[in-house]
């Protein structure tokens, strides 16, 4: 969701600045490039932050249980993905 906030706030800034009646020219390439760099770095920082806390996934407890068990078995058979959690049951 944070990306949407970033993208919308920047679109707001860029589109807003360009579409104002007083705007004599669209924002310069350099300014837009700076926005793009800042957004990339924010996304990168967000990744470093979020990757520290893996999602708590209850693979066998809810929802399409049989489906997930089947897929995990398939993964295990193929050797992908890397790690298969043990079935707690």
């Amino acid at each position: 969701m944070i990306f949407i906030v970033y993208i919308l706030s920047i679109l707001y800034t860029v589109v807003y600045r360009a579409s104002r009646p007083k705007a004599a020219a669209p924002p310069s390439k350099r300014r837009i490039a700076l926005f793009a760099c800042a957004l990339s770095l924010l996304m990168l920082g967000q990744s470093y932050y979020l990757v520290r806390t893996p999602p708590s996934v209850d693979y066998y407890g809810v929802g399409w249980q049989g489906f997930i068990r089947y897929l995990n078995a398939r993964f295990a058979a193929n050797g992908v993905p890397n790690r298969i959690p043990e079935n707690p049951q």
Partner: protein
């Protein structure tokens, strides 16, 4: 000098009676040659009338594409929007393989990885090239073309980089094929469509294509008793809801500016069907797209209109908040309650009870995002390149083989595969386009129809960027064709504005003759006739 009927030479009109005999002979010879060719073709096909007619139609279509690329382009956008890329059992257009590779349509053509839409594009490109050679037309400037060039270069670089790192070329082609459509159409459309009338015709075709989809999805939904039973995972295709949301915003713009009565009336008839289709598609992202588009619609307006819109919007916002509050815990699929349920499930995250049926859908997105973020932190600068597998640090319930290569969150995927360098170029391109659209909107203050079209273009871009964050939209053919055409229209509009500002009388903004110049008050008085 007068002729025998007392008419001056300038009053004589050409008629069929005066056609030169040699041109008539040529016409008859041509018709004869065509008839003989069809007969020979029919014999070669063992008298199969259907196959003969099909081939004749294909040849005729190629001829139209080459000699009138604008007509072919209108057909392309209609087919791209009306025909589904991922067909369902119940699809009306399921038997029309517009997006399938020829090797899938004709099994004997093994390994021919080209599809009808690419052949269609190829015909248009040939026609356009011939037109440029014969007519020596000027090249219309494409919006943000330098950034577009950087974007294409980056894509090619990351394909090669991925291959060097052990990726597969076919996979990288899957990942970038649709983006190439976007780039091609972004360049081609403004070269073919150069007048306001042509922009209007293209909008008609977009309305027709999406109107067809809205009618189809609504028919399925109503046929199932206003339920999702039998739909699989919502009626219609995933991308339909987002694309339809852009047209709803366009309808709002048309209402606001009160332009083009015919298109406005048709849109007003279609809007209820489009809203029903969005609900029937059961896509939570569609509501995020709609919200983003409405916000952009407000942002892009001038201060006076902004205040006017806000005076309505805050009241509508309170009503909507009350509606959400009242039905937040609903699990009903009722058409009026489905939006509240979908929005709650979108916010539910890993809350199993709140997410209910969408739990698994939320779950694999979370795991995918985690895996992508791990990939990003492993290779932050240049990523993995295109063509490689996703590094699954946590297992994901994947339903299809492409899931090993392509994730739902396409925006994070760009960062994971192309690193900070590629992602910056990607964002730089889209933001540059956004700023040009915004500036074009400001300059079109005296042409509200063009302003409405630019709102549609901006809405298309917002749909692309938001939907791609949740679903595989960045590499979908239909979305990229649609966005490529919209960006092309923006180039046409900005070019028309440039010509107007340069005050070039021979190229009026409309394709029709300049009405002002034809006005009876401005016409030169006729020379006085001297009698006697």
């Amino acid at each position: 000098m007068m002729d025998s009927r007392g008419r001056s030479p300038s009053m004589q009109f050409p008629s069929h009676d005066h056609r030169r005999p040699d041109s008539q002979i040529f016409l008859w010879l041509l018709l004869g040659a065509i008839a003989i060719s069809i007969a020979v073709l029919n014999l070669a096909l063992d008298g199969n009338v259907g196959a003969t007619l099909g081939l004749v139609l294909i040849v005729a279509f190629i001829a139209i594409s080459v000699f009138r690329p604008s007509i072919s382009l209108y057909v392309l956008i209609f087919l791209a929007l009306a025909v589904e890329q991922m067909t369902q059992d119940y699809s009306w257009t399921g038997r029309f393989p517009y997006y399938s590779n020829l090797s899938n349509i004709f099994p004997s053509l093994t390994g021919l990885a080209i599809n009808p839409i690419e052949l269609h594009l190829l015909c248009i490109i040939v026609g356009l090239t011939i037109r440029f050679i014969i007519k020596r037309e000027n090249f219309v400037r494409v919006i943000a073309w330098k950034q577009l060039l950087a974007y294409i270069t980056a894509i090619i670089f990351f394909i090669l980089y991925g291959l060097l790192r052990g990726g597969e070329f076919l996979i990288s082609l899957w990942e970038t094929r649709a983006i190439i459509y976007l780039v091609l159409l972004m360049v081609i459309v403004p070269q073919i469509l150069r007048t306001q009338d042509q922009v209007r015709h293209m909008i008609w075709m977009i309305i027709a294509g999406l109107g067809f989809r809205a009618i189809e999805v609504t028919t399925h939904y109503v046929g199932a008793g206003f339920s999702l039973q039998g739909s699989g995972n919502g009626w219609g295709n995933h991308e339909d809801s987002g694309i339809l949301a852009t047209l709803v915003v366009f309808a709002l713009a048309m209402l606001l500016y009160k332009v083009d009565r015919k298109q406005r009336v048709v849109l007003m008839i279609l809007v209820p069907l489009m809203m029903v289709s969005i609900i029937a598609s059961d896509r939570r992202t569609a509501y995020a797209v709609m919200g983003g588009n409405l916000l952009l619609f407000w942002v892009i307006q001038g201060p006076v209109i902004q205040r006017k819109i806000f005076s309505y919007a805050w009241k509508a916002g309170i009503v909507f908040a009350l509606y959400l509050g009242a039905f937040w815990n609903t699990n009903s699929d009722n058409i009026f309650l489905a939006p509240a349920k979908a929005i709650r499930e979108g916010f539910a995250g890993d809350d199993k009870a709140a997410a209910s049926a969408s739990y698994t859908s939320n779950l694999y997105r979370q795991v995918e995002n985690y895996d992508l973020q791990r990939m990003i932190t492993e290779r932050p600068l240049l990523g993995t390149g295109y063509g490689g597998k996703i590094d699954y640090y946590m297992p994901v319930p994947v339903e299809w083989d492409l899931g090993f290569y392509i994730t739902h969150n396409q925006i994070l995927s760009v960062l994971a595969k192309t690193g900070v360098v590629g992602f910056t170029i990607f964002i730089f391109f889209y933001l540059s386009v956004a700023s040009e659209i915004g500036f074009g909107f400001k300059n079109a203050v005296n042409n509200h129809y063009m302003q409405a079209v630019l709102v549609l273009v901006a809405a298309g871009m917002i749909n692309h960027l938001i939907f791609s964050f949740f679903d595989i939209i960045l590499i979908y053919y239909r979305n990229n064709v649609y966005l490529g055409v919209l960006f092309g229209l923006a180039s046409t509009i900005l070019d028309l504005q440039r010509k107007q500002s340069e005050d070039v009388p021979p190229s009026p903004i409309s394709g029709r003759p300049n009405k002002e110049a034809q006005h009876w008050l401005l016409l030169q008085p006729p020379e006085k006739a001297v009698i006697g």
